[in-house]
């Protein structure tokens, strides 16, 4: 039984179909990474999950409650970390968190405790009385998260929460996501950073043109979809004849040349490594280094969408 169930979701803007009969499920306790190039329909899907947009067709159920039928009840179960900073610059960090917590219905001692807990969680307790204007970009992002978690939501939706911040703050946020997940929250995480999805997601969905084109764990996706490996060979000088012969090999999918570096894409690098080395040595190409690169999510993404994630 999925905790989040998306059923046949459709959203159109005029003649453009942003989300096209999308269906998928997220199990309780998962960190679900939602990947997709710009315009794939991620943000529209997220907005429909949060009740910010009404679907033209289909529905989303969160914890068994329909977003379409009971939006307010669903909103009590979720916490949203929007892509854009959504905090008041004229309130202190504590006042910000407290204000949003009050709107979730928290009061009195419980309110104070939860606010302290959330600020401590994102590492802003010692700066809680400062206004966000005095914060770094990373601290503002962390405050953005704190405002979404005081009510201990069952589902946390994070829409690119690490955009434009320093590596230290990014690591802090990724660690926070893992901790929130360990504490029992199910998490939907969208990002442009492949390494983040690889690092924290228990399952990944790849969205393109409003449709889910692949879904599974990282290992499943790589195993099923990334059949190519690549050899990155640094040489002293590339011979055009050698490149031509490499391209003629029956197991080589593609050969890219950049300066003195040759990248060879093939089905199984280990099996055909000797063939590649033989061709290069035949053409007196001296090899300085050779790296065998295993397929990764980027390869999967490229294979599926024909684009890199940041295209």
């Amino acid at each position: 039984m999925s905790f989040v169930q998306v059923n046949d979701l459709v959203k159109r803007y005029g003649s453009h179909v942003s989300v096209d009969h999308l269906s998928f499920g997220i199990r309780k306790g998962e960190i679900f990474g939602l990947l997709g190039p710009n315009g794939a329909g991620k943000s529209t899907t997220i907005k429909m999950m949060c009740g910010l947009l009404k679907p033209d067709q289909g529905d989303i159920a969160i914890g068994g409650v329909s977003v379409r039928a009971n939006p307010l009840e669903v909103k009590r179960k979720i916490g949203v970390v929007p892509q854009d900073l959504a905090i008041y610059e004229d309130l202190s960090a504590r006042e910000n968190v407290k204000f949003f917590a009050r709107l979730y219905g928290l009061r009195g001692k419980e309110l104070e405790e939860r606010v302290t807990e959330a600020l401590g969680f994102v590492g802003l307790l010692d700066r809680q009385n400062d206004r966000p204007g005095a914060y770094s970009g990373g601290m503002k992002r962390r405050l953005n998260i704190a405002c979404a978690i005081t009510h201990r939501p069952q589902l946390i939706i994070m829409d690119e929460p690490t955009v434009g911040i320093d590596p230290q703050s990014r690591n802090h946020i990724l660690e926070s996501v893992r901790t929130l997940n360990r504490m029992g929250s199910t998490i939907v995480y969208t990002t442009h950073y492949m390494e983040e999805v690889e690092a924290i997601s228990t399952r990944i969905g790849i969205l393109d043109h409003g449709r889910l084109i692949a879904e599974g764990t990282k290992e499943e996706l790589v195993r099923q979809l990334a059949r190519e490996e690549k050899l990155v060979i640094a040489t002293d000088g590339v011979s055009p004849e050698a490149v031509e012969e490499l391209r003629g090999h029956r197991q080589v999918e593609r050969v890219d040349v950049e300066g003195n570096d040759i990248t060879v894409y093939l089905q199984s690098a280990s099996t055909y490594l000797q063939d590649i080395l033989f061709i290069l040595s035949n053409h007196q190409v001296r090899i300085r280094t050779l790296n065998r690169v295993e397929p990764d999510l980027e390869t999967v993404f490229l294979a599926l969408t024909g684009r890199t994630l940041r295209d």
Partner: protein
């Protein structure tokens, strides 16, 4: 209510963090009232005018039985104080004297005047008007008394039968004990309250700043969109109507504070008299605030940025203030247009409260003002239901 109150309270806290807020609340209105009140005080000079005696060129062509009464009338002290008679033989000479500027006014008692009156005809004296409108009016008022009184007696004669012949008009002119004086100079301001420039602009600025309260609410609503906090708020278990109500309440309460500061401050600093009808004053202030919040809601549902909100709202406020006479007194078409604005009914109502007009006079203003406010709110709610409040 808990959520509405916290949205309102946070709204007020956020406003107090804006430096300009204190300037707008405590300084700007008083500076504007002072500047406008002093710069345009000439328009509100309500002092009583000293009446100078009028030089009257007098031609008496009548030699009838009423001469005694006429002479007695002219000899009366009250009459002599305001008109100085210079006899002339002919009407032409009197006209010449007026043209030459030697006389201010002319009086011709026509030949056969006494006979005509004694036969029951209507009394009539001929007046020759000079250049000075005030002196004309003075002479006309003083000299007209005799003719009016004579005609009154004539009317009584016709209705009740003849009275002893003699001197109509002279009965009183003889100044029997207890009789009313012939000429009594009164003051239009007597018993009422005047409007000074400071009073006028205190009311005008109060209305304008209450409308600005609405503008701040609309800006706040637009900024929630621009700062993306609206998408977070919309993703929370709170209805947008709660957010709107909270924001309106917060800004409305700040407007009440602004009104209290302005009323108390102008009263203490400039001696502005806000009248005795505190209930009516409060109702006018409240009606203006509700109306301004209605306008705020309506504008914020359409305008996407706070700059657009400011542009539209300021135009509306300045236009309404102008046509309602808030900058300077208006007449004609502008005045007619002004009657369709919130500012007019609020401002005119405040003026009436200040002048101590009866509550019935203010009630009409309150009714219209609250009707406009309710209409604006209803339209805003209808538009909100249609377009919503979202990013």
């Amino acid at each position: 209510m808990y959520r509405i109150w916290w949205v309102a309270k946070t709204e007020m806290i956020r406003m107090t963090r804006i430096r300009a807020f204190y300037f707008i609340l405590f300084v700007l209105p008083f500076v504007l009232i002072l500047i406008l009140g002093n710069a345009l005080s000439g328009m509100f000079d309500m002092k009583d005018r000293e009446i100078e005696p009028v030089q009257v060129a007098f031609v008496n062509e009548d030699a009838g039985a009423l001469q005694y009464g006429i002479r007695t009338f002219f000899a009366a002290e009250e009459v002599g104080k305001y008109v100085k008679l210079t006899p002339f033989a002919t009407k032409e000479e009197a006209e010449g004297s007026i043209r030459a500027g030697k006389s201010d006014f002319g009086l011709i008692i026509p030949d056969g005047f006494s006979d005509s009156v004694l036969r029951g005809g209507k009394a009539h004296w001929e007046f020759l008007y000079g250049r000075d409108r005030v002196k004309n009016r003075t002479a006309e008022s003083v000299l007209g008394v005799f003719v009016e009184e004579t005609n009154t007696i004539q009317a009584a004669n016709l209705a009740l039968g003849p009275v002893p012949a003699g001197a109509p008009g002279a009965a009183k002119h003889g100044q029997a004990e207890g009789a009313s004086p012939l000429v009594k100079v009164g003051s239009l301001n007597e018993g009422g309250k005047g409007v000074t420039a400071i009073q006028y602009y205190a009311a005008a600025e109060l209305v304008m700043f209450l409308l600005y309260g609405g503008m701040f609410a609309a800006i706040s609503l637009a900024k929630e969109r621009e700062q993306h906090t609206l998408s977070r708020l919309n993703a929370m278990p709170v209805s947008p109507s709660v957010l709107l109500a909270g924001k309106m309440l917060g800004q409305g309460l700040l407007a009440v504070v602004q009104a209290a500061v302005m009323i108390a401050g102008t009263s203490l600093l400039y001696g502005v008299d806000w009248g005795d009808h505190w209930g009516a004053l409060a109702a006018l202030v409240a009606g203006t605030i509700v109306a301004s919040m209605g306008i705020a809601l309506l504008i914020s549902l359409f305008a996407r940025t706070h700059k657009a909100v400011m542009g539209v709202f300021q135009t509306i406020i300045i236009f309404m203030t102008l046509v309602s006479g808030g900058f300077t007194q208006v007449s004609g078409l502008l005045e007619q247009i002004g009657r369709y604005t919130v500012s007019f009914w609020s401002f005119d109502g405040l003026n009436r409260v200040m002048l101590g007009s009866g509550i019935q006079s203010v009630a009409q203003h309150l009714t219209v003002l609250w009707a406009i406010a309710a209409g604006l709110l209803l339209v805003s709610v209808a538009v909100y239901r249609k377009v919503g409040y979202r990013e």
